[in-house]
């Protein structure tokens, strides 16, 4: 059942939040032993929150747009008093003394956080295999990965254990798993959703966003978490967008660019799904133009310098001194090294070293500064493109979900699965992955819509057209 309908029925007193929560907990107990989408289920707290919602409804109080809706929250978003570990041993058992702004927004909207979802350690990965808790499986095919890094959030929604979840997207970590699990995933405009309480991977790229089973539910959740936050200096001081009410406005008159550079290299079935989606948009009145933004090909290289550089600094605080894992040693330097050696996984170590190198004296200009210049090039190329089109259409991923273990030993191969999603993060733009069929093996395919900053309303309208056209 959709989140919007649950909230409406709970608010109207036609359905009890406690029943909704029990149903969700039952789904979790049925599926999650196998899927492992959740790192922790907050059953008692969820039941208590549901009772609170039901009592509020009984008293006639306003219960918010997500009243009684169970939701999963990625393990890198701080929940006060609950383990928030980024699926890393280095933060094993760490309980933040504060809530992320998005968590407060969820609770104010009446949503019920039912569990914390699995992820690649510190959001570094594309398969949710880099988790201290072990991997999550793809709900469509248990031999496949759910994508990553927000694989737990995608699988939880894909399996129907929750109607909604929150993930974070630094280079595709919402859209890629959304595509792999057959759900909707939105990476909002940088600054639209507060990062306060999102444990940083790459601060200039990170953004919290929604997973949902429908475009409408994604819009509903995005409305709840969007908005200015004085605790985040990079938060945009703009009014929260009105999304749900505009979803049915269609795409008549919009120019949509079918972007060759976001299709080339994709499997034939995915390419066909993109073409079919373009046809749905055209049938709804959009003008489709073929286009190319060759600069996007530099995105991956720039990303794998900027993101690790920021990560090397962001993760320096996990030093064993204040919280998390400490491995005792003879002196502070050795304690520091021993704690990090034991606490960080291979991929995190690889990126810390890469980023440290890129920022080092003598290498900064050749790597970090050059990557920033490339980033500017990509931003300018997008700006040029959006002078002639309103939206851009392409694939979310080059392939459908790959097998568990298939790419763990080949980091470069793993990095390439984000090649289509990374450019929007570099530009700070919004993008959405919406389901567009499946391949011959029955694995979900996602297509991606991209737009300029703060074009969420337009993006979601177009995604709704594709969603509706397919059903």
């Amino acid at each position: 059942m959709s989140a919007r309908r649950i909230a409406a029925e709970v608010a109207a007193g036609n359905r009890r939040a406690t029943e909704v929560v029990e149903a969700s907990l039952a789904e979790i107990s049925t599926h999650d032993g196998e899927l492992h989408a959740f790192t922790e289920v907050h059953a008692e707290a969820a039941r208590e929150a549901a009772r609170g919602i039901d009592a509020a409804v009984a008293e006639g109080r306003d219960v918010g747009p997500l009243a009684g809706v169970p939701i999963g929250v990625k393990d890198n978003i701080c929940q006060r008093g609950r383990v928030t570990s980024c699926a890393s041993k280095i933060l094993d058992g760490w309980r933040p003394p504060y809530d992320a702004t998005v968590v407060r927004s969820l609770e104010a909207a009446g949503a019920i956080i039912i569990g914390t979802t699995n992820m690649d350690e510190f959001a570094m990965g594309s398969s949710t295999e880099n988790s201290a808790y072990g991997p999550t499986k793809n709900p469509v095919d248990h031999s496949k990965v759910p994508g990553g890094s927000s694989g737990g959030s995608a699988a939880a929604v894909g399996a129907g254990m929750v109607p909604l979840s929150l993930g974070s997207d630094t280079g595709g970590s919402i859209r890629q798993p959304a595509a792999f699990c057959g759900v909707v995933g939105v990476k909002p405009t940088y600054g639209l959703v507060s990062r306060y309480g999102l444990v940083a991977f790459a601060s200039s790229l990170d953004q919290v966003g929604p997973f949902a089973q429908s475009v409408e539910d994604a819009a509903l959740l995005l409305e709840v978490i969007a908005g200015h936050d004085p605790l985040d200096s990079t938060s945009l001081d703009v009014p929260a967008p009105m999304l749900v009410d505009r979803l049915d406005d269609g795409v008549g008159g919009l120019r949509v660019g079918l972007c060759r550079d976001l299709i080339e290299g994709a499997s034939p079935e995915i390419t066909a799904a993109v073409t079919a989606s373009a046809e749905l948009l055209a049938a709804a009145g959009a003008e489709i133009v073929e286009m190319s933004i060759p600069e996007l090909h530099y995105g991956l290289s720039a990303y794998y310098l900027i993101a690790p550089a920021e990560a090397s600094s962001n993760l320096a605080r996990y030093d064993g001194v204040r919280y998390g894992l400490r491995v005792d040693a003879a002196n502070v330097a050795e304690m520091n090294a021993a704690s990090r050696t034991a606490g960080f996984g291979d991929e995190v170590k690889r990126r810390i070293m890469l980023g440290t190198y890129a920022l080092s004296a003598g290498y900064y200009d050749a790597y970090y500064a050059q990557a920033q210049r490339t980033r500017t090039l990509i931003i300018n190329a997008f700006a040029d493109a959006y002078r002639s089109v309103d939206l851009i259409l392409g694939a979310t991923t080059p392939t459908t979900a790959f097998g568990l273990g298939a790419k763990v030993s080949d980091p470069m191969e793993m990095y390439l699965s984000d090649v289509f999603t990374i450019p929007t993060n570099l530009a700070g733009h919004p993008a959405i992955s919406v389901p567009a069929g499946s391949d011959a093996a029955g694995l979900p395919i996602g297509v991606q819509l991209l737009g300029p900053a703060l074009s969420e309303e337009r993006l979601l309208r177009a995604a709704a057209v594709i969603e509706k056209g397919r059903s």
Partner: protein
């Protein structure tokens, strides 16, 4: 002052860190307060907890700009940067600072002797916590354990970097002293070096004569008093000269000043120097103060110490004596020169006003309490008119300051300080002389040391009510 031998010359640049006098820390709402129970004045942001984000304190920006304007710096659009290095008292293992785009660019500071020192930059950054190493060596290497207090973490700082323009330890001390006065005058800092509000690092090198290229420099960290600044630089320059004279090379390194031992020692060598890996802080947006904002701050800046000292010197009438110059510098530093100016404007002799303000008023204010300028002027007028003696005036002043004000005449009356009339004083003088004929005879014959003896006797007999000046005049008159 130590002199370097032969034709050696020292080259010194100072890096001065000053804490800003804001109510809250640089990036969070925690109080910017000194001391307190360890780790009580902290929050997720200044502890650098995962997920926390900094939000810039606007007041700190204003104070940083005040410092920049007072030092004639170019105020520029600036960018915060991360300075990455590990130390246990650094919560995030990076310090948010400014690097290639500081808020205050090139400026200068003029010393009282007329020399000008280049200010390269004055940038904003956050302070660290405080580590205490226990047991063992008592240093980070070799202590049994270390404990950290993060109350100071995130306190706003401005670092003022001078050019290598300073040529003596004495000049370095004067630069630090003048900078301190300016910081206090801007209201940006309380300038308390003993509490760490202002800390000085010195870069020192030596060379043979003013035309030789700069030598290899050493940086001396954490000089916590003006005296330490001068002593440490003198010692370090001499150490370098002796090494060079001995045919040895100077090793670029960071050195620690041991105040008790009176010498510097190695803290870390160049090889151990950090690669800070500066890069723009992605959690903050670039800072671009508007021209209107800068102009408004400039318009609100009070007169700077140099100008205020000139004003007081001019009030002294004739050439100010050396001790008056010291008093002038002192009252300007303490921001109490306004009392002298008010008194002089009301017709009180400026030297009397300066003496009372620099000594008695400054002392009384430092014990707490306050006093408005008009009340101080009335008291000075009473003293000048002979209504109260100097001794009585000081006693009245102490009471007024402790009470935070009052009517000086009423206070004098309560204390029984009514000036003796001339007839009563004459009678006491005559009686004292009559009781001490032998001493009086010696005084008349020229033993001036006895002036104090007779003054004391008269004061004792009048319980301090006699005016010292009138007593002296009476004694001189009777001596013939």
């Amino acid at each position: 002052m130590a002199e370097l031998p032969d034709d050696w010359e020292m080259v010194v640049g100072l890096e001065v860190h000053t804490e800003l006098a804001t109510a809250t820390k640089l990036f969070c709402g925690c109080a910017n307060a000194f001391g307190g129970e360890p780790n009580t004045n902290v929050c997720p942001v200044c502890l650098g907890l995962p997920g926390s984000l900094p939000v810039l304190n606007e007041k700190a920006v204003e104070l940083a700009i005040r410092i920049g304007l007072a030092l004639h710096c170019q105020i520029a659009p600036s960018v915060f940067a991360r300075k990455n290095y590990f130390y246990p008292d650094q919560p995030k293992d990076y310090q948010i600072s400014q690097y290639d785009k500081p808020i205050n660019g090139i400026g200068h500071l003029d010393l009282p002797d007329g020399t000008r020192v280049l200010v390269e930059r004055a940038h904003m950054e956050e302070d660290t916590g405080k580590t205490t190493h226990l047991g063992g060596t008592g240093r980070i290497h070799g202590a049994d354990e270390s404990i950290v207090d993060y109350n100071r973490a995130g306190v706003p700082l401005v670092e003022i970097v001078s050019g290598p323009d300073i040529r003596s330890a004495e000049q370095a001390r004067r630069y630090a002293a003048e900078l301190r006065s300016i910081l206090i005058a801007t209201g940006a800092s309380d300038g308390r070096m003993e509490e760490g509000s202002m800390r000085v690092d010195a870069n020192v090198s030596v060379r043979r004569g003013p035309d030789a290229p700069f030598g290899t420099r050493c940086e001396i960290k954490n000089l916590n008093s003006l005296r330490s600044v001068q002593r440490a630089i003198d010692h370090e320059a001499l150490r370098q000269v002796m090494l060079l004279e001995d045919g040895q090379a100077i090793v670029q390194e960071t050195r620690h000043w041991d105040e008790d031992a009176g010498r510097t020692q190695t803290l870390r060598s160049k090889e151990e120097a950090y690669d800070y890996r500066y890069f723009p802080e992605p959690d903050l947006v670039p800072l671009a103060p508007s021209d209107e904002q800068i102009d408004a701050i400039r318009a609100s800046l009070p007169a700077m110490p140099a100008e205020r000292r000139r004003t007081l010197v001019a009030l002294m009438g004739e050439q100010a004596t050396e001790s008056q110059a010291d008093q002038i510098a002192s009252v300007v530093d303490q921001g109490i020169d306004r009392y002298v100016i008010a008194a002089a404007a009301a017709g009180v002799a400026a030297p009397l006003a300066l003496a009372r303000v620099a000594n008695e008023l400054a002392g009384a204010l430092s014990d707490g309490g306050h006093l408005d300028e008009d009340t101080m002027v009335v008291l000075l007028q009473m003293e000048e008119a002979g209504e109260v003696s100097a001794t009585q005036s000081k006693a009245v002043l102490a009471d007024l300051v402790a009470d935070g004000g009052g009517d000086p005449r009423a206070v004098a009356k309560t204390k029984g300080f009514e000036q003796m009339d001339a007839g009563a004083l004459d009678a006491v003088l005559d009686a004292v002389i009559a009781e001490n004929r032998d001493a009086w005879q010696r005084y008349v014959e020229g033993d001036d040391k006895l002036t104090g003896f007779f003054t004391g006797k008269v004061m004792a007999a009048t319980k301090g009510q006699a005016d010292g000046k009138a007593v002296n005049a009476g004694l001189r008159q009777r001596r013939g």
